[in-house]
Symmetry: C2
Subunit: 83 residues, 2 copies
C-alpha cells in the first residue's frame, strides 16, 4: 500500500446558478479587469489515500465524492492524482 | 489576443484552521473510508482571460487572486492554464 495525494475539483453543473461566480464577475470592471470573463467558483478538496496503485486511489476518491463531498444533482467532480 | 481558460486553486496556508476539512475527516470512519486522511478544502475558481500569450494570462490571473479572490493573510493560491 502506498500513499497517494489526490485533488477533487467539484463544480456546479452547467445551467446551475453560481451566485459567487456572478458576484465576482460583476466586481471586475470596477477593479480594471475587463479582460476576464466566465468566472465560476467550485471547490478544490485535497486528501491522501492509501491504496495499492494510482487507479485504485482515484476510484476511492471518486467513491468519496459520490457519497460525501459532491451533490450529484447540482455538482460534477473530477478526481486527479497530484503525487 | 487569444482567450485562455485558467484555474486558480486557493488553499488555506499551513497552520490556518480548516474547519470544513476537519469535519469531513471526522465523518470518514463512519462511512467506511478509513484509508483517507489529510483532507483540506479550498476553492477552485475557473475564468477566461484574453491575453496575447499564456504567461501574460497567468500574470493577470495572479493579479486577480491578489486583489480580489484570495486573502493573502490566510490563503495561498496557484494559477494554471487549462487551455
Amino acid at each position: 500500500m502506498s500513499e497517494f495525494e489526490l485533488i477533487a475539483e467539484i463544480r456546479h453543473k452547467s445551467g446551475i446558478a453560481d451566485p459567487e461566480g456572478s458576484t465576482i464577475l460583476r466586481a471586475l470592471p470596477a477593479l480594471g479587469f475587463e479582460e476576464i470573463s466566465n468566472v465560476s467558483v467550485g471547490k478544490a478538496i485535497r486528501f491522501a489515500v492509501s491504496a495499492s496503485n494510482a487507479s485504485e486511489a482515484v476510484a476511492k476518491g471518486e467513491e468519496l465524492c459520490k457519497r460525501l463531498l459532491a451533490n450529484p444533482v447540482l455538482e460534477s467532480f473530477k478526481v486527479s492524482v497530484i503525487s
